[in-house]
Symmetry: C2
Subunit: 94 residues, 2 copies
């Protein structure tokens, strides 16, 4: 399941784009906003998911907000590293 306990978030990993597009569509079709979240290299993939959804599957969906942030991750060796994150909020047009 690409969704998590935040029940309107979709976390982007290494699965095929369409898996995440489908997960996001299910959330949007319940009338909720959907937040697509990704870190590091998956950020490009998150933008692909939002664009494919919007252009190919649901023309009545808009990008409502995009946020970028930095998170500190602690690796298995105890070293801290900074990783960039993105959150793309999608919503159906009223």
């Amino acid at each position: 399941m690409p969704t998590n306990k935040d029940d309107n978030s979709v976390y982007i990993g290494r699965r095929p784009t369409n898996n995440y597009v489908l997960a996001a569509m299910m959330i949007l079709n319940e009338g909720k906003e959907c937040v697509i979240k990704a870190r590091g290299r998956a950020i490009s993939h998150a933008v692909d998911v939002a664009e494919v959804l919007k252009n190919r599957f649901m023309q009545n969906v808009d990008v409502k907000d995009i946020k970028i942030t930095t998170e500190k991750l602690t690796g298995p060796d105890g070293k801290e590293s900074n990783v960039s994150c993105i959150e793309i909020t999608l919503a159906k047009r009223k």
Copy 2:
């Protein structure tokens, strides 16, 4: 030069992050807004550039706007493909 004819844009490619951070700082220090642009896999890199600039070098800079779009590219074999793009607009806080 990572900048192009749009003299307040920085196009992200494969060079080290700091090259682009420096190019963006020069534009911002002239009092202009700076637009960081990237396509495809470089999108993650563009977010890194914006975050490093903002968190490490210029604390008085805000993300003013983020746009995502899709461009149609025609490959050398004449095939069309869709590629996602990002434009991150940065501006000094007044």
